[in-house]
């Protein structure tokens, strides 16, 4: 794979948070099927999903994924190199001390899990050592979360609007904050490889 340079990238990041909603499934599957098996950072995904279907989604994501996709339990420690997915019908927060908390609080942006909640709590814990990626989606969840990551000095990426099935979500983030990079899914995969290289 040819290298791409991404301004602002360094090898001091601690985690990646990915938010996605309508139209993000294909992109996510593609990313998970191509990232290196020894990718070093934890990848925390908050994807909008059917609230009352507990099973099936993680299996569908896992089919092509290089790594196991884990739906964390409440208070589960976050480990490097693992891929996590917010469970159905719970908000997923990151706590100081690097573990997860779940909650059944009210929906945020009509969503539970809410991307804003995962991103904001991750940003609070990881500060400028966090990478936030927001993919295709039909609402505005994640925009404030991305802003929070950017304001804390983190590294922000949204999916290229033309590459999105539905661009409302990344467009909302672009509207309220300065995003570092706008990338197609293929280039997001290159970003993962570049990070992988930096950590060698």
């Amino acid at each position: 794979m040819n290298h791409m340079k991404f301004q602002g990238l360094h090898n001091n990041f601690k985690a990646i948070v990915i938010g996605g909603s309508a139209g993000s499934f294909q992109g996510i599957t593609k990313i998970l099927s191509q990232i290196p098996g020894d990718f070093p950072l934890p990848v925390i995904m908050c994807l909008h999903r059917l609230k009352h279907v507990r099973n099936g989604f993680i299996e569908a994501l896992s089919i092509k994924s290089i790594k196991d996709v884990i739906e964390p339990y409440d208070k589960e420690p976050i480990k490097r190199g693992k891929v996590y997915l917010a469970p159905a019908n719970y908000h997923l927060s990151i706590e100081l001390g690097h573990y997860f908390s779940l909650s059944t609080e009210e929906m945020v942006n009509n969503s539970r899990p809410s991307i804003d909640i995962t991103m904001e709590t991750a940003s609070y814990v990881y500060k400028n050592k966090l990478i936030g990626i927001l993919l295709s989606g039909a609402n505005k969840d994640g925009a404030l979360g991305m802003k929070r990551i950017k304001d804390s000095g983190g590294f922000t990426v949204v999916q290229d609007l033309a590459d999105c099935m539905i661009d409302t979500m990344p467009a909302a983030a672009l509207e309220i904050t300065k995003i570092d990079h706008t990338l197609t899914v293929d280039n997001i995969i290159k970003l993962f490889f570049e990070i992988h290289n930096l950590y060698k």
Binding site: H52, S93, S101, T104, E106
Partner: protein
């Protein structure tokens, strides 16, 4: 959204502990902070200091605070497969040895799950032989639980869950809609004892065959979970059952070795050691 600092939260929890005896020190920070922010917005406080002052000066407001700080989002038959296993496996097992079943609903919130268990027991024909105690930290939410009045919108979700639970009837057999609200059939819970009880500071008050405490301890940090689990463990008869939320786990808890997993998917545990 504004940010609040942990030191301010600490000050607030200290004030509450000293003045009212409730201890929120070991609540999970992420959600507790969101609840505080929500209250600041709801009541238009300028900051945590203003909230702390109001709490200090106004015990009536403090009751409202308790209602707002606790999360009261719940459903009837949430995770229908859990309720099916309770009906098809756990309760029949208990009934092999006992005639009566005693159940403690710890953290019953607005009471949806109390109705769920009551409907389940009624359909099994053992409601009359069961003893249910439902507790919560929040007086106001207990009032709502007692009243058994829910929004029609929530009932739609509850009905869907009930269908997936594969209940015997239609859920609407158990409620009436009047003026856009659903009124539950109160005869279902006529023998339920609703009581105020704080899992954090409260005492162990009885022993039960089943303790239901689903999605309650997720609001606590690991230390507090350990403390509360000790009390729950003491409140269960040997070979009785503990049910926690499907995404909770005893793996990281000190008391794990005193339970065995009966159903991992639904997080039902059996107490095997005192």
């Amino acid at each position: 959204m504004q940010e609040i600092h942990i030191v301010d939260i600490r000050k607030l929890t200290e004030i509450i502990k000293t003045k009212y005896g409730y201890d929120f020190t070991n609540y999970a920070i992420s959600s507790f902070k969101r609840r505080i922010l929500r209250i600041l917005e709801l009541y238009k406080f300028s900051g945590v200091d203003a909230l702390a002052k109001k709490i200090t000066d106004d015990p009536v407001f403090f009751e409202e605070f308790i209602s707002e700080i606790t999360v009261n989002v719940t459903e009837m038959f949430r995770d229908p497969s859990f309720w099916r296993i309770l009906r098809d496996k756990i309760l029949p097992n208990i009934l092999l040895n006992h005639k009566r079943v005693s159940i403690w609903h710890a953290g019953c919130s607005s009471g949806e799950e109390v109705y769920s268990i009551a409907i389940l027991l009624k359909e099994m024909g053992i409601l009359e032989d069961s003893k249910i105690i439902a507790t919560d930290i929040d007086d106001r939410i207990l009032e709502r639980a007692r009243s058994g009045v829910y929004t029609v919108k929530n009932m739609e979700l509850n009905e869907k869950n009930y269908v997936r639970f594969r209940g015997e009837n239609e859920l609407n057999k158990y409620f009436e809609v009047k003026n856009g609200l659903a009124y539950m059939d109160k005869s279902l819970v006529k023998d339920v004892s609703y009581r105020k009880h704080d899992l954090v500071n409260g005492i162990v008050f009885n022993k039960f065959d089943i303790v239901l405490c689903r999605n309650v301890m997720i609001y606590f940090n690991q230390n507090l979970q350990n403390d509360v689990l000790k009390k729950l463990h003491e409140s269960i008869f040997k070979y009785g059952y503990l049910a926690i939320g499907s995404k909770e786990s005893l793996i990281w808890c000190e008391i794990a070795n005193k339970f065995i997993v009966v159903n991992n998917e639904e997080k039902i545990y059996k107490k095997i050691k005192e």
